[in-house]
Amino acid sequence: MAPSGADASATLAASLKANRDRYLAVIEGSVPTAANGAMCTVAGRPVADVIREVTAGAAGTIAVGSCAFDGGLSAASGGATGASGVAPFVSGTLVALPGCPINAFNLAATLVHYLTFNELPPTDAGGRPLFAYGALVHNECERRAHFEFGEFVQAWGDEGAQKGWCLYKMGCKGPETYANCASAGFDGGLSWPVKAGVGCIGCTMPAFWDAMSPFTRRLPSPLPFLPNVTADDIGQAAVIGIAGVAGLHAVGSYVRANRQGAAARRAKAAAKLVPSGAAIEGAAVAVAVAAEPMPAAEPMPAAEPAAADEAPTTILVDAVPGADLDADAGAGESD
C-alpha cells in the first residue's frame, strides 16, 4: 500500500473494522517467540500481537508456506528464535498450506473453495486441505514406472537422468511426502522439481529441513534390517524376481520411529516380517537371493543410517518397495 508508518497501521485497522467477520486472513512467515517477541516486530509490537489482532475478526485464516505451518527453516535445528507456526496465535478456523515455497495453485484453490461453498476445504488433523495434501507425491509421480522397473538415476546427468528415470537414489523424498506437486505442478502445471530432474525435498512435511535432509542422500533402506540394500539392488532384484523367481515370500515393511530431538536427521525404523500377501495390497513377493553369504544382522545405526550406497552389496532382495514405502510414510509422518 502507498502509506507507511502510522498511516499504514490506520489503513489496516480501518479495513479490519469495516470487514469484520467477512475477510480471510492469509499469513506467511513464522513467529519467533524468543526474546519476548523482539525477533520480529511491527511498529514496536511483537508480530504475534498483530496476528492475534488480524485473525480475531477473520472468517478464517490461511497459513501459507512451511514457516507459517510449523516454523519452517527458522524452527530447524540450530535456530535461535524459538520460531513457531502461526497456529498458537490464531483464533478461529485455520487452514495450513505448507510448502517451501507454497504452491500458488493451492492457495487459489482454497480461496475458490471458500468463495464457492462458503467454507474452507476439509483438512487433515494438521489443518492441511485433503485436496492438496492427501496423496503421496510418489504415487502421482510421472517417474514412478521407472521406480517400479528399478530404473534409477545413478549420478547427475547420467543416461538415466537423460531418460527421466526415477530420482529415488538421488535423494528423492517423494515416497515420504504428501503433496500434489506431481499432479498440480507449479506455475500453471508447467513443471515441478522432479519433472525438471531433481528429487523432491519433502518441503510440505513437518520439520522437513531436519527430517528430510541431507536432501541428496537416498532415503534409508526400505528394508532396514538389511541396511546395506540399496534401491539399485532392489531394482535389479525386481527384474530377476519378475523373470520368474517367485516362491520364496517375504515382505518387508517398516515403521519409521519417531525423530529424535531437533538434531536428529533421520529416524530409524523398526522392522517386522509379515507373511507374504497378507501385508500390503498388491505387493509382489519379496525374494531373497543370497548371492554371497548373508552377513550377520548389523546393529541399526543410532541416528543416521550408514551411507548404504557406498557399502558393498551382498543381498539381493525382490520387493515392491513402492507399496512398502507408502504404508510406511503414512505411519512415519504421524509424529
Binding site: M1, A2, P3, V42, G78, S191, R217
Partner: protein, 569 residues
C-alpha cells in the same frame, strides 16, 4: 526538533523501521533498523555442505536465486570444482532473467506509489493517457478504452473497504507532481507487470522446477540433463507393464522454446514499458536530482560472467569512491568486514571491531527496549542488521553502484546506456548520485541485462547441439573425496546489490557460514566508529514538507529497494 518514526515501512521485504530527527524541515539524523531476525547462518551449521544453497536460498522469496548461486558457488570454491559451460550459461540465464524481474518488480510494486499519485490517476483523461503512452512507446496496450478500464478498476479498488495494494494516504501529499495521465499509465503497467512477471518466471520453473526457490542446482553445476540422444532401447516392449513413460527434458526442444519465449517477453516489456515508464516518471522529478546522496562510495561484486572468470563479468566488480568515476578501484574479498557494534548480537572474537566473514559468528542477544517500544534510536544497539564495511568505509550497493562501477570500468554498453539515459532525462551526471540515480539506473541496467539473455540461450543451444551434454563437474560430489577442512566464498549480485557467502567445511559438514546481503550493506546501522550506513546517510539532509507524512523519506528508502529480512537473515 521533531522525531519521526516510520514503522512499518511498507513495500519492502520484511520489517523495516526508520527514525529520523527533523529540524526546520530538514533531516538532521536518521536510524534504520531491521526488526526481524531468523538465524539462518547458525541453522546451516552441521549440515551436509551440498544442501547449503537450498537453505541459504530461503533467505528471500525474490532474490533467493542470487543467494542460491552465491552459496553453491562458495561450496564449489571450497571444493575446487568449476561448473561446465552449459551450467554456467543456464545459471546466467536464471540470474539475468530474475535480476530483470526483480528490478521491474522493484519499481512497480515497491517504488512507483511514492512517485505516481493514484488519486490523481482517477482524474486522468484516458484519451490523453493513450496519446502519452503512444508517444513514449510502441507497446500495444495503449488505447483509451484500455486506460479507461484500468481507471475503473483502480477506482473500485481504491474506493472499496479493501483497497489492498492500492490503499492511498488519507490526504494528498504536495510532493506528488506527476501528471494524472502519467500516473494512470504507470498504474496500468503495475497490473501488467504482475502478469508479465509470471510469464517470464516460466524460465525459472522450466529450468529450476518451480519459482521461487528453484531446486535444480547441484554443487558442480546443475541437476537437469538434456534429452537422451543415444540409441533407443533395443527391445521394444521390454517392460511387461503397459505404461506410458515419456520424458521431456527442460533442455529439449519444448523447454528451450519456453525459455526463448520468456526471454523475448522479458526484453520486450523492459524496453517498451519499464524503461519508458521510469524515464517519463522521473523526468517529472528532476528536482530530485542529487537528493538523497548518501555516502558516495559504491561497491559492486559483479555478476554474469561469460566464462566464469572475473575478467568476463558482464556486470563488473569494483569500487567507486567519493563519486569519482575516473578511478575504478579493485575489490578484494579480504577487505570486507562486519561489526555488530550497534546490532543485537554478542560481540564476536574481534569485539566491536570489524571481523572478516570467514571467521565471523552470529550470536543473537537482544538488548533493546521492552516491547512494545516507542523508540529504538536512543539505544546504543538498534537493529538486527550487522554493519558491513569495506576497509572501514560504509558502501552503497545496488543497480546504481553497478552502473557507476561499470562506467568507471569502461564497459562500453554501460557507458552508452547511462549516457543515453542522461540525455533522455536531460540531467547531468552529478544528478545520478542519489535517489534520482537509484531510480533511473535500475531501469538502465535492466535494459542492458535483458539484451544479454538471448546470447546465452543461443550459446546453450549451440553447445548442446555440438554434443556437449555436461551439466555438472561431479568430481567432488562424494564427500569422501573432500579434504577434512575446506573454506570458500562467492561474491555475486542480487537485484538489490552485492551479495557474499562464506563457508567453512569440516568433515563434510558446514562448520561456519556467513552471509553479507545487499541490504546488510545498504540498511546497515552505525559501525564501531559511529558512521552511518548507506541508507541512514542518504536520509540525512532531506527536506520534509510534512513530518506527519514524510513521503520524501519513503522515496529515498524505497530507492534502495531494501530487504531488511535478507539484511539481517
Amino acid at each position: 526538533m521533531t522525531r519521526v518514526v516510520l514503522d512499518p515501512v511498507t513495500r519492502v521485504g520484511g520489517q523495516l523501521r526508520v527514525e529520523a530527527e527533523i529540524s526546520d524541515g530538514t533531516v538532521t539524523d536518521a536510524w534504520v533498523s531491521g526488526t526481524s531476525y531468523r538465524g539462518l547462518e547458525r541453522i546451516l551449521e552441521g549440515r551436509d555442505a551440498r544442501d547449503a544453497w537450498l537453505m541459504a536460498q530461503r533467505i528471500c522469496g525474490s532474490c533467493g536465486w542470487a543467494h542460491a548461486l552465491a552459496s553453491v558457488g562458495a561450496v564449489e570454491q571450497a571444493l575446487g570444482v568449476t561448473p561446465p559451460t552449459n551450467a554456467r550459461l543456464i545459471r546466467n540465464l536464471l540470474a539475468g532473467t530474475q535480476l530483470v524481474v526483480d528490478e521491474v518488480s522493484g519499481f512497480y510494486l515497491r517504488q512507483a506509489l511514492d512517485w505516481i499519485d493514484l488519486r490523481a490517476a482517477l482524474t486522468a483523461d484516458p484519451d490523453a493517457t493513450s496519446t502519452l503512452a503512444r508517444a513514449v512507446s510502441p507497446w500495444p496496450n495503449s488505447g483509451s478504452t484500455y486506460f479507461a478500464t484500468i481507471q475503473g478498476r483502480l477506482a473500485a479498488m481504491i474506493g472499496s473497504s479493501q483497497p489492498g495494494p492500492f490503499a492511498i494516504p488519507p490526504v494528498t501529499h504536495p510532493g506528488y507532481h506527476l501528471s494524472p495521465e502519467t500516473s494512470l499509465m504507470v498504474a496500468a503497467h503495475y497490473f501488467e507487470a504482475l502478469d508479465w512477471r509470471r510469464e517470464v518466471l516460466h524460465l525459472e520453473t522450466v529450468l529450476g522446477g518451480r519459482s521461487p526457490h528453484l531446486q535444480t542446482l547441484v554443487v558442480g553445476g546443475l541437476a537437469i540433463a538434456p534429452d537422451w540422444g543415444g540409441p533407443a532401447r533395443p527391445v521394444p516392449g521390454e517392460h511387461i507393464w503397459d505404461v506410458v513413460r515419456t520424458f521431456v527434458s527442460p533442455l529439449g526442444a519444448a523447454g528451450l522454446a519456453a525459455i526463448g519465449t520468456a526471454i523475448d517477453s522479458a526484453r520486450a516489456f523492459v524496453e517498451q514499458v519499464f524503461v519508458p515508464d521510469v524515464m517519463t516518471t522521473m523526468k517529472a522529478y528532476r528536482d530530485w536530482g542529487g537528493k538523497g546522496r548518501g555516502i558516495g562510495h559504491y561497491l559492486a561484486f559483479g555478476a554474469l560472467s561469460a566464462d566464469g572468470s572475473e575478467a568476463s563479468l558482464a556486470l563488473p566488480r569494483g569500487r567507486v569512491m567519493d563519486r569519482d568515476l575516473t578511478h575504478l578501484i579493485q575489490v578484494a574479498e579480504s577487505g570486507i568486514g562486519e561489526t555488530t557494534a550497534h546490532a543485537w548480537y554478542a560481540p564476536g572474537s574481534a569485539g566491536n571491531d570489524l571481523q572478516h566473514p570467514s571467521d565471523g559468528g552470529t550470536e543473537p542477544l537482544y538488548t533493546g527496549p521492552k516491547l512494545p517500544y516507542a523508540s529504538l534510536a536512543d539505544a546504543d544497539r538498534y537493529s538486527w542488521i550487522k554493519a558491513p564495511r569495506y576497509e572501514d568505509d560504509p558502501m552503497e550497493v545496488g543497480p546504481l553502484a553497478r552502473m557507476l562501477v561499470a562506467s568507471a570500468a569502461g564497459v562500453t554498453a554501460a557507458r552508452e546506456a547511462v549516457g543515453r539515459a542522461l540525455t533522455t532525462l536531460n540531467v547531468g551526471q552529478d544528478e545520478l548520485f542519489g535517489t534520482f540515480g537509484r531510480m533511473t539506473m535500475r531501469a538502465v541496467e535492466a535494459g542492458l541485462v535483458a539484451k544479454r539473455l538471448t546470447g546465452w540461450l543461443s550459446d546453450l543451444r549451440d553447445s548442446i547441439a555440438a554434443g556437449d551434454l555436461a551439466m555438472a563437474d561431479l568430481s567432488a560430489w562424494d564427500p569422501a573425496s573432500w579434504p577434512r577442512d575446506a573454506e570458500g566464498f562467492a561474491l555475486g549480485e542480487s537485484a538489490r546489490g552485492a551479495v557474499g557467502h562464506w563457508v567453512r567445511i569440516h568433515d563434510g559438514r558446514i562448520a561456519g557460514y556467513q552471509i553479507v546481503d545487499a541490504s546488510t550493506w545498504n540498511a546497515s546501522p552505525r559501525d564501531q566508529m559511529g558512521r552511518r550506513g548507506a541508507l541512514e546517510a542518504a536520509l540525512v539532509g532531506t527536506s520534509v514538507v510534512d513530518p506527519g507524512r514524510p513521503l520524501e523519506l519513503l522515496r529515498t528508502v524505497h530507492s534502495f529497494d531494501p530487504c531488511p529480512s535478507c539484511g539481517a537473515h
